[in-house]
Protein backbone atom coordinates (compact mmCIF):
# COMPACT_ATOMS: atom_id res chain seq x y z
CA UNK A 1 0.00 0.00 0.00
CA UNK A 2 3.03 2.25 0.09
CA UNK A 3 3.79 3.84 -3.25
CA UNK A 4 6.77 5.87 -4.33
CA UNK A 5 6.51 9.13 -6.18
CA UNK A 6 8.10 8.54 -9.58
CA UNK A 7 7.28 11.93 -11.07
CA UNK A 8 5.28 14.96 -10.13
CA UNK A 9 4.64 17.84 -12.48
CA UNK A 10 2.52 20.90 -13.06
CA UNK A 11 -0.46 20.26 -15.29
CA UNK A 12 -1.64 23.82 -15.83
CA UNK A 13 -2.99 26.24 -13.23
CA UNK A 14 -3.81 24.46 -9.98
CA UNK A 15 -3.53 21.02 -11.57
CA UNK A 16 -0.79 18.49 -10.92
CA UNK A 17 0.19 15.23 -12.55
CA UNK A 18 1.49 12.60 -10.17
CA UNK A 19 3.05 9.29 -11.12
CA UNK A 20 3.30 6.67 -8.43
CA UNK A 21 5.31 3.49 -8.61
CA UNK A 22 3.16 0.67 -7.23
CA UNK A 23 4.52 -2.81 -6.69
CA UNK A 24 1.48 -5.08 -7.12
CA UNK A 25 -0.88 -2.97 -9.15
CA UNK A 26 -3.63 -5.25 -10.48
CA UNK A 27 -4.78 -2.92 -13.25
CA UNK A 28 -7.96 -0.88 -13.19
CA UNK A 29 -11.12 -0.19 -15.09
CA UNK A 30 -12.23 3.34 -16.12
CA UNK A 31 -14.02 5.10 -13.26
CA UNK A 32 -12.21 3.33 -10.46
CA UNK A 33 -10.38 5.37 -7.86
CA UNK A 34 -7.78 5.07 -5.14
CA UNK A 35 -7.47 6.50 -1.65
CA UNK A 36 -4.30 8.60 -1.41
CA UNK A 37 -2.76 9.88 1.81
CA UNK A 38 -3.11 13.64 2.22
CA UNK A 39 0.51 14.45 1.50
CA UNK A 40 3.64 12.37 1.45
CA UNK A 41 4.43 10.24 4.46
CA UNK A 42 7.32 11.65 6.44
CA UNK A 43 9.83 9.82 8.60
CA UNK A 44 7.38 9.84 11.50
CA UNK A 45 3.65 9.62 11.98
CA UNK A 46 1.54 12.73 11.57
CA UNK A 47 -2.08 12.60 12.67
CA UNK A 48 -3.19 15.66 10.77
CA UNK A 49 -4.58 15.76 8.13
CA UNK A 50 -6.01 12.41 9.08
CA UNK A 51 -8.06 11.00 6.24
CA UNK A 52 -6.91 9.85 2.82
CA UNK A 53 -8.33 11.57 -0.27
CA UNK A 54 -10.22 9.80 -3.05
CA UNK A 55 -8.65 10.28 -6.48
CA UNK A 56 -9.60 8.75 -9.79
CA UNK A 57 -6.99 6.55 -11.42
CA UNK A 58 -6.12 8.62 -14.47
CA UNK A 59 -3.91 6.16 -16.36
CA UNK A 60 -1.50 3.33 -15.70
CA UNK A 61 1.88 2.67 -17.25
CA UNK A 62 3.81 -0.58 -17.25
CA UNK A 63 7.40 -0.03 -16.12
CA UNK A 64 10.12 -2.56 -15.39
CA UNK A 65 9.25 -4.37 -12.16
CA UNK A 66 5.78 -2.96 -11.65
CA UNK A 67 3.39 -0.27 -12.69
CA UNK A 68 3.16 3.46 -12.50
CA UNK A 69 -0.23 4.82 -11.61
CA UNK A 70 -0.99 8.31 -12.84
CA UNK A 71 -3.21 10.71 -10.95
CA UNK A 72 -4.35 14.06 -12.30
CA UNK A 73 -5.49 16.29 -9.49
CA UNK A 74 -6.32 19.83 -8.55
CA UNK A 75 -4.83 21.62 -5.56
CA UNK A 76 -8.02 22.40 -3.71
CA UNK A 77 -7.68 22.35 0.09
CA UNK A 78 -5.19 21.20 2.70
CA UNK A 79 -4.74 17.61 1.64
CA UNK A 80 -4.04 18.30 -1.99
CA UNK A 81 -1.80 21.27 -1.14
CA UNK A 82 0.32 18.95 0.99
CA UNK A 83 0.24 16.27 -1.69
CA UNK A 84 1.65 18.84 -4.10
CA UNK A 85 4.76 19.09 -1.87
CA UNK A 86 5.65 15.44 -2.55
CA UNK A 87 8.86 15.01 -4.50
CA UNK A 88 10.18 12.04 -6.46
CA UNK A 89 11.34 9.40 -4.01
CA UNK A 90 8.81 10.41 -1.37
CA UNK A 91 6.26 7.83 -0.33
CA UNK A 92 2.51 8.10 -0.20
CA UNK A 93 -0.06 5.62 1.03
CA UNK A 94 -2.30 4.30 -1.73
CA UNK A 95 -5.29 1.97 -1.47
CA UNK A 96 -6.82 0.83 -4.69
CA UNK A 97 -8.13 0.43 -7.25
CA UNK A 98 -11.52 0.75 -5.57
CA UNK A 99 -15.15 1.04 -6.62
CA UNK A 100 -17.30 0.03 -9.56
CA UNK A 101 -16.15 1.24 -12.95
CA UNK A 102 -18.19 2.72 -15.78
CA UNK A 103 -19.95 0.13 -17.89
CA UNK A 104 -18.28 -0.20 -21.28
CA UNK A 105 -19.82 2.10 -23.88
CA UNK A 106 -21.88 0.01 -26.31
CA UNK A 107 -19.49 -1.12 -29.06
CA UNK A 108 -21.27 0.35 -32.02
CA UNK A 109 -22.97 3.23 -30.26
CA UNK A 110 -22.20 6.86 -29.57
CA UNK A 111 -20.83 7.85 -26.18
CA UNK A 112 -20.85 11.38 -24.80
CA UNK A 113 -18.45 11.96 -21.95
CA UNK A 114 -19.16 15.08 -19.89
CA UNK A 115 -16.54 16.21 -17.43
CA UNK A 116 -16.40 19.25 -15.16
CA UNK A 117 -13.77 20.35 -12.65
CA UNK A 118 -11.86 17.46 -11.13
CA UNK A 119 -14.44 15.04 -12.56
CA UNK A 120 -12.57 15.17 -15.86
CA UNK A 121 -9.91 12.87 -14.44
CA UNK A 122 -12.42 10.02 -14.06
CA UNK A 123 -13.21 10.06 -17.78
CA UNK A 124 -9.87 9.89 -19.53
CA UNK A 125 -9.42 6.14 -19.54
CA UNK A 126 -13.06 5.65 -20.51
CA UNK A 127 -12.43 7.79 -23.59
CA UNK A 128 -9.18 5.99 -24.28
CA UNK A 129 -10.69 2.52 -24.17
CA UNK A 130 -14.07 3.20 -25.79
CA UNK A 131 -14.67 1.23 -28.99
CA UNK A 132 -17.40 3.27 -30.67
CA UNK A 133 -17.85 6.94 -31.47
CA UNK A 134 -16.80 9.21 -28.63
CA UNK A 135 -17.56 12.86 -27.97
CA UNK A 136 -15.82 14.43 -25.00
CA UNK A 137 -17.20 17.63 -23.49
CA UNK A 138 -15.05 19.35 -20.89
CA UNK A 139 -15.97 22.27 -18.65
CA UNK A 140 -14.02 24.44 -16.25
CA UNK A 141 -14.12 27.85 -14.67
CA UNK A 142 -11.30 29.10 -16.88
CA UNK A 143 -8.60 27.88 -19.23
CA UNK A 144 -6.23 27.81 -16.29
CA UNK A 145 -8.49 25.50 -14.33
CA UNK A 146 -9.16 23.07 -17.17
CA UNK A 147 -7.75 19.59 -16.67
CA UNK A 148 -6.40 17.15 -19.21
CA UNK A 149 -7.40 18.90 -22.44
CA UNK A 150 -4.24 18.00 -24.33
CA UNK A 151 -4.39 14.38 -23.20
CA UNK A 152 -7.91 14.00 -24.55
CA UNK A 153 -6.97 15.81 -27.74
CA UNK A 154 -4.09 13.38 -28.23
CA UNK A 155 -6.57 10.49 -28.15
CA UNK A 156 -8.05 11.76 -31.35
CA UNK A 157 -11.61 11.76 -30.02
CA UNK A 158 -14.05 14.56 -30.79
CA UNK A 159 -13.54 17.20 -28.14
CA UNK A 160 -15.46 20.33 -27.19
CA UNK A 161 -14.72 22.71 -24.33
CA UNK A 162 -16.67 25.30 -22.38
CA UNK A 163 -15.49 27.66 -19.67
CA UNK A 164 -17.40 30.03 -17.46
CA UNK A 165 -15.22 33.00 -18.34
CA UNK A 166 -14.77 32.11 -21.99
CA UNK A 167 -10.99 31.77 -21.69
CA UNK A 168 -11.16 28.20 -23.01
CA UNK A 169 -13.57 27.05 -25.71
CA UNK A 170 -17.10 28.35 -25.55
CA UNK A 171 -18.19 30.75 -22.79
CA UNK A 172 -20.78 28.92 -20.72
CA UNK A 173 -21.43 25.63 -19.04
CA UNK A 174 -20.43 22.23 -20.27
CA UNK A 175 -24.08 21.24 -20.02
CA UNK A 176 -24.84 23.79 -22.75
CA UNK A 177 -22.58 21.74 -24.99
CA UNK A 178 -24.33 18.57 -23.89
CA UNK A 179 -27.75 20.00 -24.71
CA UNK A 180 -26.59 20.72 -28.25
CA UNK A 181 -24.94 17.36 -28.66
CA UNK A 182 -28.09 15.59 -27.55
CA UNK A 183 -30.09 17.49 -30.14
CA UNK A 184 -28.06 15.77 -32.80
CA UNK A 185 -30.09 12.71 -31.85
CA UNK A 186 -29.12 9.09 -31.92
CA UNK A 187 -29.86 8.16 -28.25
CA UNK A 188 -26.26 8.02 -27.12
CA UNK A 189 -24.96 6.84 -23.74
CA UNK A 190 -23.88 9.69 -21.48
CA UNK A 191 -21.09 9.44 -18.90
CA UNK A 192 -20.77 12.40 -16.54
CA UNK A 193 -18.44 13.32 -13.72
CA UNK A 194 -18.10 16.68 -12.03
CA UNK A 195 -19.77 18.95 -9.49
CA UNK A 196 -23.16 17.71 -8.32
CA UNK A 197 -25.21 20.50 -9.95
CA UNK A 198 -23.48 19.81 -13.26
CA UNK A 199 -24.14 16.06 -13.05
CA UNK A 200 -27.72 16.66 -12.06
CA UNK A 201 -28.27 18.98 -15.00
CA UNK A 202 -26.57 16.52 -17.34
CA UNK A 203 -28.75 13.70 -16.04
CA UNK A 204 -31.91 15.72 -16.62
CA UNK A 205 -30.92 16.67 -20.16
CA UNK A 206 -29.98 13.12 -21.01
CA UNK A 207 -33.10 11.66 -19.51
CA UNK A 208 -35.23 14.03 -21.59
CA UNK A 209 -33.32 12.73 -24.62
CA UNK A 210 -33.90 9.14 -23.39
CA UNK A 211 -30.17 8.58 -23.23
CA UNK A 212 -28.78 6.11 -20.69
CA UNK A 213 -26.71 8.14 -18.28
CA UNK A 214 -23.94 7.14 -15.90
CA UNK A 215 -22.61 9.52 -13.31
CA UNK A 216 -19.55 9.20 -11.10
CA UNK A 217 -20.26 10.85 -7.76
CA UNK A 218 -17.70 12.77 -5.70
CA UNK A 219 -18.89 12.39 -2.11
CA UNK A 220 -16.50 12.90 0.81
CA UNK A 221 -15.02 9.61 1.96
CA UNK A 222 -13.31 8.34 5.07
CA UNK A 223 -12.46 4.72 4.27
CA UNK A 224 -13.08 4.16 0.56
CA UNK A 225 -14.00 0.50 0.95
CA UNK A 226 -17.46 0.32 2.45
CA UNK A 227 -17.01 0.23 6.21
CA UNK A 228 -17.61 3.77 7.51
CA UNK A 229 -20.88 4.42 5.62
CA UNK A 230 -19.76 8.02 5.34
CA UNK A 231 -20.07 8.37 1.58
CA UNK A 232 -23.71 7.35 1.31
CA UNK A 233 -25.69 8.82 -1.60
CA UNK A 234 -29.49 8.86 -1.34
CA UNK A 235 -31.19 6.68 -3.93
CA UNK A 236 -34.34 7.50 -5.84
CA UNK A 237 -35.93 4.29 -4.65
CA UNK A 238 -35.19 5.12 -1.00
CA UNK A 239 -32.19 4.17 1.08
CA UNK A 240 -28.60 4.83 0.21
CA UNK A 241 -25.87 3.58 -2.02
CA UNK A 242 -22.25 3.72 -0.93
CA UNK A 243 -20.30 5.82 -3.39
CA UNK A 244 -17.10 3.94 -2.62
CA UNK A 245 -18.50 0.43 -2.94
CA UNK A 246 -21.74 0.59 -4.95
CA UNK A 247 -20.27 3.45 -7.00
CA UNK A 248 -18.67 5.84 -7.63
CA UNK A 249 -20.47 5.14 -10.91
CA UNK A 250 -24.27 5.04 -10.70
CA UNK A 251 -27.10 5.02 -13.17
CA UNK A 252 -28.20 8.68 -13.00
CA UNK A 253 -31.82 7.61 -12.72
CA UNK A 254 -31.06 5.74 -9.49
CA UNK A 255 -29.93 8.86 -7.62
CA UNK A 256 -32.15 11.00 -5.41
CA UNK A 257 -30.63 14.26 -6.63
CA UNK A 258 -32.79 16.41 -4.36
CA UNK A 259 -31.16 15.00 -1.25
CA UNK A 260 -27.63 14.51 -2.51
CA UNK A 261 -25.59 17.01 -0.52
Amino acid sequence: MDAEVAAHADAGGPNRRLRLRVADWPGFAPGQFAMLSAGARGSAQRDDPLLPRPMAVYREHAVPGGSEVEILYKVHGRGTALLADARPGDRVRLLGPLGRPFPDPPAGGRAILVGGGTGIASLYELAARAQGEVLVLLGARSADDLMGRDDFAALGVSLDVASEDGSAGRRGLVTDLLAEALEEGGAPSVYACGPTPMMRAAAELASRASAATWVSLENPMACGFGVCLGCAAPLAGGGFGLVCRDGPVFDAAAIDWENLA
Binding site: L50, L51, N219, M221, A222, V227, C228, C231
Partner: protein, 309 residues
Protein backbone atom coordinates in the same frame (compact mmCIF):
# COMPACT_ATOMS: atom_id res chain seq x y z
CA UNK B 1 14.30 -12.75 21.92
CA UNK B 2 13.74 -15.60 19.44
CA UNK B 3 14.89 -18.19 21.97
CA UNK B 4 12.48 -17.12 24.70
CA UNK B 5 8.95 -18.42 25.30
CA UNK B 6 6.20 -16.93 23.16
CA UNK B 7 4.27 -14.01 24.66
CA UNK B 8 0.91 -14.99 26.12
CA UNK B 9 -1.49 -12.50 24.58
CA UNK B 10 -4.80 -14.02 25.69
CA UNK B 11 -7.17 -11.82 27.66
CA UNK B 12 -10.62 -12.28 29.09
CA UNK B 13 -13.08 -9.49 28.44
CA UNK B 14 -16.01 -10.10 30.79
CA UNK B 15 -16.29 -13.71 29.72
CA UNK B 16 -15.28 -13.25 26.10
CA UNK B 17 -12.03 -15.13 25.58
CA UNK B 18 -9.80 -13.24 23.18
CA UNK B 19 -6.59 -14.57 21.68
CA UNK B 20 -5.20 -11.05 21.82
CA UNK B 21 -6.53 -7.79 23.25
CA UNK B 22 -7.14 -6.00 19.96
CA UNK B 23 -10.68 -5.76 18.60
CA UNK B 24 -12.11 -3.48 15.96
CA UNK B 25 -14.69 -0.90 17.02
CA UNK B 26 -18.34 -0.89 16.08
CA UNK B 27 -19.15 1.10 12.97
CA UNK B 28 -15.58 1.16 11.76
CA UNK B 29 -15.28 -2.37 10.46
CA UNK B 30 -18.62 -2.92 8.79
CA UNK B 31 -19.83 -6.48 9.15
CA UNK B 32 -16.34 -7.87 8.97
CA UNK B 33 -16.35 -9.02 5.37
CA UNK B 34 -15.30 -5.71 3.83
CA UNK B 35 -11.75 -6.06 5.12
CA UNK B 36 -11.31 -9.36 3.34
CA UNK B 37 -8.86 -8.10 0.75
CA UNK B 38 -6.76 -6.20 3.28
CA UNK B 39 -6.67 -8.05 6.56
CA UNK B 40 -6.67 -11.60 7.84
CA UNK B 41 -9.19 -11.42 10.66
CA UNK B 42 -7.42 -14.24 12.48
CA UNK B 43 -4.65 -11.81 13.36
CA UNK B 44 -6.91 -9.76 15.63
CA UNK B 45 -8.55 -10.59 18.94
CA UNK B 46 -12.11 -9.99 17.88
CA UNK B 47 -14.42 -7.75 16.01
CA UNK B 48 -17.42 -5.64 17.05
CA UNK B 49 -20.03 -5.36 14.34
CA UNK B 50 -21.87 -2.20 13.31
CA UNK B 51 -24.66 -1.44 15.83
CA UNK B 52 -27.87 -3.34 15.11
CA UNK B 53 -31.45 -2.26 15.62
CA UNK B 54 -34.64 -4.30 15.53
CA UNK B 55 -35.59 -2.97 12.10
CA UNK B 56 -33.18 -2.02 9.33
CA UNK B 57 -32.30 1.69 9.38
CA UNK B 58 -31.33 3.93 6.49
CA UNK B 59 -29.34 6.53 8.39
CA UNK B 60 -28.84 10.25 7.79
CA UNK B 61 -28.72 12.25 4.61
CA UNK B 62 -25.24 13.37 3.52
CA UNK B 63 -22.89 14.94 4.38
CA UNK B 64 -22.26 12.33 7.06
CA UNK B 65 -18.56 12.82 7.73
CA UNK B 66 -16.04 15.63 7.88
CA UNK B 67 -12.38 15.77 8.75
CA UNK B 68 -11.20 17.76 11.80
CA UNK B 69 -7.73 18.30 13.33
CA UNK B 70 -6.31 14.81 13.96
CA UNK B 71 -9.85 13.47 13.89
CA UNK B 72 -13.16 13.27 12.11
CA UNK B 73 -16.83 13.82 12.82
CA UNK B 74 -19.51 11.39 11.81
CA UNK B 75 -23.27 11.37 11.89
CA UNK B 76 -24.08 8.17 10.07
CA UNK B 77 -27.41 7.85 11.83
CA UNK B 78 -27.01 4.19 12.69
CA UNK B 79 -27.63 2.86 9.25
CA UNK B 80 -27.74 -0.93 9.60
CA UNK B 81 -29.28 -4.01 8.07
CA UNK B 82 -31.30 -4.85 11.17
CA UNK B 83 -30.67 -7.70 13.58
CA UNK B 84 -32.45 -10.39 11.54
CA UNK B 85 -30.58 -9.75 8.32
CA UNK B 86 -27.35 -9.65 10.32
CA UNK B 87 -28.01 -13.11 11.72
CA UNK B 88 -29.25 -14.46 8.41
CA UNK B 89 -26.83 -12.91 5.92
CA UNK B 90 -23.86 -11.24 7.51
CA UNK B 91 -22.77 -13.69 10.20
CA UNK B 92 -22.53 -16.73 7.93
CA UNK B 93 -20.35 -14.76 5.51
CA UNK B 94 -17.75 -14.06 8.19
CA UNK B 95 -14.56 -16.06 8.09
CA UNK B 96 -14.11 -18.55 10.92
CA UNK B 97 -11.89 -18.07 13.88
CA UNK B 98 -12.64 -14.54 14.97
CA UNK B 99 -14.90 -13.85 17.96
CA UNK B 100 -17.79 -11.63 16.99
CA UNK B 101 -19.26 -9.11 19.41
CA UNK B 102 -22.62 -7.79 18.26
CA UNK B 103 -23.41 -4.16 19.02
CA UNK B 104 -26.98 -3.39 20.04
CA UNK B 105 -28.95 -0.20 19.73
CA UNK B 106 -32.53 0.91 20.26
CA UNK B 107 -34.78 3.74 21.26
CA UNK B 108 -36.20 2.12 24.41
CA UNK B 109 -34.88 -0.48 26.85
CA UNK B 110 -37.48 -2.90 25.46
CA UNK B 111 -36.23 -2.67 21.89
CA UNK B 112 -32.62 -3.05 23.05
CA UNK B 113 -33.70 -6.13 25.01
CA UNK B 114 -35.46 -7.64 22.02
CA UNK B 115 -32.36 -7.28 19.85
CA UNK B 116 -30.32 -8.93 22.62
CA UNK B 117 -32.75 -11.84 22.70
CA UNK B 118 -32.52 -12.39 18.98
CA UNK B 119 -28.74 -12.51 19.17
CA UNK B 120 -28.61 -14.85 22.13
CA UNK B 121 -27.89 -18.44 21.21
CA UNK B 122 -26.85 -17.52 17.69
CA UNK B 123 -23.65 -19.36 16.75
CA UNK B 124 -20.66 -17.05 16.27
CA UNK B 125 -21.97 -14.32 18.59
CA UNK B 126 -19.48 -14.33 21.46
CA UNK B 127 -20.85 -11.35 23.33
CA UNK B 128 -22.97 -8.23 23.17
CA UNK B 129 -22.02 -4.59 23.38
CA UNK B 130 -24.83 -2.21 24.27
CA UNK B 131 -24.41 1.13 22.53
CA UNK B 132 -25.75 3.48 25.20
CA UNK B 133 -25.17 6.60 23.11
CA UNK B 134 -28.65 6.51 21.65
CA UNK B 135 -30.94 9.42 22.46
CA UNK B 136 -33.81 8.15 24.59
CA UNK B 137 -37.00 9.08 22.79
CA UNK B 138 -39.25 9.53 25.82
CA UNK B 139 -36.72 11.66 27.71
CA UNK B 140 -36.43 14.32 25.05
CA UNK B 141 -33.28 13.17 23.33
CA UNK B 142 -30.94 12.73 26.26
CA UNK B 143 -28.74 9.70 25.70
CA UNK B 144 -29.11 6.59 27.85
CA UNK B 145 -25.44 6.90 28.66
CA UNK B 146 -25.86 10.45 29.94
CA UNK B 147 -28.34 9.79 32.76
CA UNK B 148 -27.68 7.30 35.56
CA UNK B 149 -31.34 6.35 35.93
CA UNK B 150 -31.91 5.76 32.23
CA UNK B 151 -28.65 3.84 32.07
CA UNK B 152 -29.63 1.61 34.99
CA UNK B 153 -32.93 0.81 33.27
CA UNK B 154 -31.12 -0.04 30.06
CA UNK B 155 -28.52 -2.28 31.69
CA UNK B 156 -31.19 -4.06 33.72
CA UNK B 157 -33.36 -4.68 30.67
CA UNK B 158 -30.54 -6.01 28.52
CA UNK B 159 -29.02 -8.03 31.34
CA UNK B 160 -32.25 -9.94 31.84
CA UNK B 161 -32.58 -10.50 28.08
CA UNK B 162 -29.35 -12.42 27.60
CA UNK B 163 -26.84 -14.68 29.25
CA UNK B 164 -24.13 -13.71 26.78
CA UNK B 165 -21.21 -11.64 28.06
CA UNK B 166 -22.64 -8.13 28.25
CA UNK B 167 -20.52 -5.04 27.66
CA UNK B 168 -21.99 -1.55 28.04
CA UNK B 169 -20.49 1.06 25.74
CA UNK B 170 -20.61 4.42 27.47
CA UNK B 171 -20.91 7.94 26.17
CA UNK B 172 -17.99 10.24 27.09
CA UNK B 173 -20.31 13.25 27.14
CA UNK B 174 -20.87 13.12 30.87
CA UNK B 175 -19.69 14.88 34.00
CA UNK B 176 -18.62 11.69 35.75
CA UNK B 177 -17.67 8.56 33.87
CA UNK B 178 -16.95 6.80 37.17
CA UNK B 179 -20.58 7.21 38.20
CA UNK B 180 -21.79 5.72 34.93
CA UNK B 181 -19.35 2.83 35.20
CA UNK B 182 -20.63 2.01 38.68
CA UNK B 183 -24.21 1.97 37.42
CA UNK B 184 -23.22 -0.66 34.85
CA UNK B 185 -21.43 -2.78 37.42
CA UNK B 186 -24.30 -2.53 39.89
CA UNK B 187 -26.80 -3.70 37.29
CA UNK B 188 -24.81 -6.77 36.36
CA UNK B 189 -22.89 -5.81 33.26
CA UNK B 190 -19.86 -8.00 32.53
CA UNK B 191 -17.73 -5.19 31.23
CA UNK B 192 -17.59 -1.63 29.95
CA UNK B 193 -16.48 -0.28 26.59
CA UNK B 194 -15.38 3.30 26.43
CA UNK B 195 -15.33 5.74 24.86
CA UNK B 196 -17.85 6.39 22.15
CA UNK B 197 -17.42 9.63 20.20
CA UNK B 198 -17.34 13.11 21.74
CA UNK B 199 -20.29 15.20 20.64
CA UNK B 200 -19.02 17.94 18.37
CA UNK B 201 -19.79 20.32 15.52
CA UNK B 202 -17.93 21.54 12.46
CA UNK B 203 -18.90 24.50 10.30
CA UNK B 204 -18.54 24.89 6.55
CA UNK B 205 -17.49 28.53 6.37
CA UNK B 206 -18.15 28.78 2.63
CA UNK B 207 -21.85 27.94 3.02
CA UNK B 208 -22.12 29.20 6.64
CA UNK B 209 -23.83 25.94 7.51
CA UNK B 210 -22.92 22.97 9.67
CA UNK B 211 -20.58 20.66 7.78
CA UNK B 212 -22.86 17.71 8.60
CA UNK B 213 -26.50 17.56 7.58
CA UNK B 214 -27.30 16.31 11.10
CA UNK B 215 -25.64 19.46 12.56
CA UNK B 216 -24.02 17.56 15.45
CA UNK B 217 -21.67 14.63 15.00
CA UNK B 218 -19.30 12.41 16.95
CA UNK B 219 -15.60 13.19 17.16
CA UNK B 220 -13.23 10.23 16.81
CA UNK B 221 -9.59 9.64 15.99
CA UNK B 222 -6.25 10.48 17.63
CA UNK B 223 -7.56 13.88 18.78
CA UNK B 224 -9.71 12.24 21.47
CA UNK B 225 -7.17 9.70 22.71
CA UNK B 226 -6.07 11.64 25.82
CA UNK B 227 -9.71 12.05 26.87
CA UNK B 228 -10.34 8.34 26.35
CA UNK B 229 -7.26 7.40 28.37
CA UNK B 230 -8.45 9.60 31.20
CA UNK B 231 -11.90 8.02 31.22
CA UNK B 232 -10.56 4.48 31.09
CA UNK B 233 -8.29 5.27 34.02
CA UNK B 234 -11.11 6.85 36.03
CA UNK B 235 -13.55 4.02 35.27
CA UNK B 236 -11.02 1.32 36.06
CA UNK B 237 -10.53 2.80 39.51
CA UNK B 238 -14.29 2.91 40.06
CA UNK B 239 -15.28 -0.64 39.12
CA UNK B 240 -13.93 -4.18 39.19
CA UNK B 241 -15.44 -5.40 35.91
CA UNK B 242 -13.14 -5.30 32.89
CA UNK B 243 -12.90 -2.35 30.55
CA UNK B 244 -12.41 -2.26 26.82
CA UNK B 245 -10.54 0.92 25.89
CA UNK B 246 -11.47 2.83 22.72
CA UNK B 247 -10.50 6.19 21.28
CA UNK B 248 -7.88 7.18 18.75
CA UNK B 249 -5.88 3.98 18.93
CA UNK B 250 -3.68 3.63 15.85
CA UNK B 251 -0.48 1.98 17.07
CA UNK B 252 0.67 -0.65 19.54
CA UNK B 253 2.04 2.10 21.76
CA UNK B 254 -1.40 3.69 21.92
CA UNK B 255 -2.98 0.37 22.84
CA UNK B 256 -0.38 -0.35 25.51
CA UNK B 257 -1.14 2.97 27.18
CA UNK B 258 -4.77 1.91 27.50
CA UNK B 259 -3.77 -1.42 29.02
CA UNK B 260 -1.61 0.37 31.59
CA UNK B 261 -4.55 2.64 32.43
CA UNK B 262 -6.70 -0.37 33.23
CA UNK B 263 -8.20 -1.60 29.97
CA UNK B 264 -8.24 -5.40 29.58
CA UNK B 265 -8.63 -5.06 25.83
CA UNK B 266 -8.88 -2.29 23.25
CA UNK B 267 -10.75 -1.47 20.07
CA UNK B 268 -9.31 0.15 16.98
CA UNK B 269 -11.79 2.47 15.27
CA UNK B 270 -11.05 5.36 12.94
CA UNK B 271 -7.54 4.05 12.31
CA UNK B 272 -9.09 1.24 10.24
CA UNK B 273 -10.03 3.85 7.65
CA UNK B 274 -6.62 5.36 7.31
CA UNK B 275 -4.93 1.95 7.35
CA UNK B 276 -7.06 -1.17 6.89
CA UNK B 277 -4.29 -3.24 8.45
CA UNK B 278 -4.11 -1.08 11.56
CA UNK B 279 -5.72 -3.52 14.02
CA UNK B 280 -3.44 -6.39 13.00
CA UNK B 281 -0.40 -4.12 13.20
CA UNK B 282 -1.45 -3.05 16.68
CA UNK B 283 -1.79 -6.69 17.75
CA UNK B 284 1.62 -7.61 16.32
CA UNK B 285 3.20 -4.51 17.79
CA UNK B 286 2.02 -5.38 21.28
CA UNK B 287 3.81 -8.72 21.00
CA UNK B 288 6.96 -7.03 19.80
CA UNK B 289 6.87 -4.53 22.63
CA UNK B 290 6.31 -7.22 25.23
CA UNK B 291 9.22 -9.21 23.84
CA UNK B 292 11.48 -6.17 23.91
CA UNK B 293 10.40 -5.26 27.43
CA UNK B 294 10.43 -8.68 29.04
CA UNK B 295 6.68 -8.92 29.51
CA UNK B 296 5.57 -12.56 29.24
CA UNK B 297 1.83 -12.09 29.62
CA UNK B 298 -0.05 -9.17 28.14
CA UNK B 299 -2.72 -9.46 30.83
CA UNK B 300 -0.08 -8.65 33.44
CA UNK B 301 0.17 -5.12 32.07
CA UNK B 302 -3.46 -4.27 32.76
CA UNK B 303 -3.84 -1.43 35.27
CA UNK B 304 -0.14 -1.19 36.10
CA UNK B 305 0.24 2.52 35.45
CA UNK B 306 2.53 3.74 38.19
CA UNK B 307 1.07 6.87 39.71
CA UNK B 308 3.32 9.19 41.74
CA UNK B 309 2.57 9.19 45.49
Amino acid sequence: MSASAPINTAVDLGGIALRNPVLTASGTFGYGTEFGPFLDLRRIGGFVAKSLTLEPRHGNLPARIVETPAGMLNAIGLENVGVDAFVREKLPALPDGVPVVASVFGSEPASYAEVCKRLTGVPRVAGLEINASCPHVKSGGIEFGQDPTLLADLVRATRSATNLPLLIKLSPNVTSIAEMARVCEDQGADGISLINTLQALEVDLATRRPALRNVLGGLSGPAIRPVALRMVWQASRAVAIPICGIGGIATAEDALKFLLCGASAVQVGTANYTNPMAAAEVADGIVAWCAANGVARVADLVGTLEVPE
